[in-house]
């Protein structure tokens, strides 16, 4: 039996600064042991525990796509002890990775259906994984129309600008990038994510919606999706909770009798409706 508390060692191969404020960075990691790299099979929407030795461990959603086989990426905002230590790491630093953990998005359910991806702020990380996965040439045919609505406070706060640019050139994705308030030089959409979702009005016909973002965005986006005809069982959300072990043992991330780390982090809105509102 393997010990789930022992991390695999990985090297930071590349660090990408994602935003103007410089508090969101994407870390590209490669496991030191090629076997570990091969064995790290994950689904979109799962997370891993990242160790910065001496600072500790924290759970981070996986931002790369499962199709990216020779590296994994994590997009991290600098907020606490471990994330700050990670931000101070240079390329070449060895860190630890445990995982993947959690259930991930319901990919099987999405196959053969339209997919609506709604994200706000830096919570877009696992949605980026999902979008990248669906758009991969080996997968694209298995999904129908893909609509992405992604909002940030201002253009400088948008993550993955390199992906957004590439996706914007494709005709097999309906990409809607919005910022909260108009600024000179911005030619894209302006407005909060819920309003833009209403404007874009993706059809709920044979569709699944996946929503990640700050609580306020989720609060106002759910009624819009409801108006558009999405039933609660076809809307999926990824919950945020303080976690330590990632395997349902340390006892802090429960919402009712469910552990966000192992029963989630992805829940159907229908499940959340019957769970206590304690997240």
């Amino acid at each position: 039996m393997s010990n789930p508390y022992i991390p695999n060692l990985a090297v930071i191969r590349r660090v990408i600064t994602e935003n103007e404020v410089n508090d969101i960075k994407t870390f590209e990691l490669v496991f030191q042991d090629p076997e570990a790299m091969k064995n790290f099979k994950y689904r979109c929407g799962q997370f891993a525990e990242i160790s910065v030795f001496g600072a500790g461990e924290c759970p981070i959603g996986i931002a790369s796509s499962p199709m990216d086989e020779d590296y994994i990426q994590f997009t991290v905002k600098k907020v606490g002890v471990v994330t700050t230590a990670l931000h101070n790491c240079e390329e070449g630093t060895v860190v630890g990775v445990r995982g993947p953990f959690g259930n991930g998005f319901p990919m099987e359910m999405m196959e053969g259906r339209n997919v609506v991806i709604v994200g706000g702020g830096f919570a877009f990380t696992t949605l980026r994984s999902l979008t990248k996965f669906i758009l991969h040439e080996a997968n694209r045919d298995r999904f129908k129309d893909v609509t992405v609505i992604y909002g940030a406070r201002n253009p400088g706060e948008l993550s993955y600008k390199y992906d957004l640019e590439a996706w914007g050139k494709r005709d097999d994705i309906n990409l809607n990038v919005t910022i909260d308030i108009a600024v000179p030089g911005w030619t894209g959409l302006v407005g909060f994510v819920p309003a833009v979702t209403k404007q874009v009005a993706p059809s709920s016909e044979n569709a699944i919606a996946v929503v990640c973002g700050p609580p306020i965005m989720i609060k106002f986006t759910l009624p819009v999706l409801n108006e558009l005809g999405f039933p609660p069982e076809d809307i999926f959300l990824s919950l945020e909770m303080r976690m330590k072990c990632g395997i349902g043992k340390c006892g802090r991330c429960n919402v009712g009798d469910k552990f966000v780390c192992k029963d989630g982090p992805v829940f159907a809105y229908k499940e959340l409706q019957i769970m206590p509102k304690e997240y």
């Binding site: 001496g54 461990e57 043992k249």
Partner: protein
């Protein structure tokens, strides 16, 4: 099932023999505090207690435990020894309520895809010797919650105190194997065995606290938003002693100590602390004592029932005895069970 007998004066000898092949943990008295410690001789052990101040869970799930060591150098990171070498242990003098907590913790730590080997290995390598409870305390309520003063759940052998001797009842094969190593133990006499039955009945009768947990889990299903939580937590200080001393509480934190040659440790944590659920963004899903008290009660009497089919409480009464503001879990459960919802 076998019954052996040992005179109290011979207990130090018995313990001494056990220490030859095992690490022995037993109650030790330091001033007024009785807790489980590693003993190297029979004379250190103290068995005339009602119950220990701290629960024996710390033998299998220490307050601070090294998960692994690491060394950060110029050439990268090395991860060292993950666990102490396997050693055979004997845990002696556990009250039946506390022994029952092991049965609950076993279910928890072995659940799911990822088992907790740190706890499970120690449990597997340990022979647990219980100590039946002749004189329960006024705060005891094991009989209300599935246990009894002479209960055998979670023990391999059960010591029963009769005047100047202990009867030793074998409960499991593991216990029997340990007994085989002590061939000098005499067989118990029938009259003494009869006497333990009477003692057991008397002890049960001595437990006056009755708590009705029946139906509490179902009620709690409908009580998440009940006004009862607005009142129960009011006098709580949030000190967390109820969770630290609870034999079934298992929540922990994981952190790193030292930077270059360091260790990753897990330490006990408590759902009663504000930081327990505080997120990086500053958001806290359990911002006040109300939500934290509700979590503790819900976890013990509802969530655990759903996940493991058990109330995570053994009725030891430590949280009642040690609470600095006299919060009483029996009263809380009573309030819930009498509420019309």
């Amino acid at each position: 099932m076998k019954w052996k007998v040992v005179e109290k004066s011979k207990m130090p000898l018995l313990i001494e023999e056990l220490t030859k092949e095992h690490e022995v943990f037993a109650p030790v008295k330091k001033k007024s505090l009785v807790s489980f410690e590693r003993v190297s001789s029979g004379n250190e052990t103290y068995l005339d207690f009602q119950n220990t101040k701290t629960p024996p869970k710390e033998v299998f799930f220490p307050q601070t435990e090294i998960l692994f060591t690491y060394r950060v150098g110029k050439k990268g990171v090395e991860i060292g020894e993950a666990q102490a070498p396997k050693r055979k242990m004997v845990l002696l003098g556990v009250r039946p309520c506390d022994a029952r907590s092991f049965v609950l913790l076993d279910k928890f730590f072995s659940s799911g895809e990822n088992k907790d080997l740190y706890y499970l290995e120690k449990r597997k390598n340990t022979t647990t010797i219980g100590l039946a409870c002749n004189h329960p305390l006024s705060t005891c309520f094991c009989t209300s919650i599935g246990g009894s003063p002479f209960g055998k759940e979670g023990v391999d052998l059960l010591l029963q105190n009769i005047n100047d001797k202990y009867l030793i009842e074998t409960v499991t094969e593991k216990g029997e194997k340990l007994i085989e190593k002590l061939p000098w133990l005499k067989d118990a006499e029938k009259a003494d065995i009869e006497k333990t039955k009477r003692l057991s009945e008397d002890a049960e009768k001595a437990i006056r606290s009755k708590v009705s947990v029946k139906g509490v889990s179902e009620k709690l299903d409908r009580m998440f938003d009940d006004p009862v939580w607005d009142h129960i937590h009011q006098k709580c200080l949030g000190c967390g002693v109820c969770t630290f001393l609870c034999p079934t509480c298992y929540c922990f934190d994981i952190l790193d100590e030292e930077t270059e040659e360091g260790k990753r440790v897990r330490i006990w944590d408590s759902c009663q602390f504000p930081c327990f659920t505080l997120q990086g963004s500053g958001h806290n899903p359990r911002p006040s004592g109300k939500e934290r008290m509700r979590q503790r009660i819900m976890h013990k009497f509802n969530y655990s029932v759903k996940n493991f089919g058990e109330n995570f409480c053994v009725g030891c009464g430590r949280c009642v005895r040690e609470c600095p503001v006299n919060l009483d879990i029996r009263e809380t459960v009573e309030k819930i069970s009498t509420r019309q919802v």
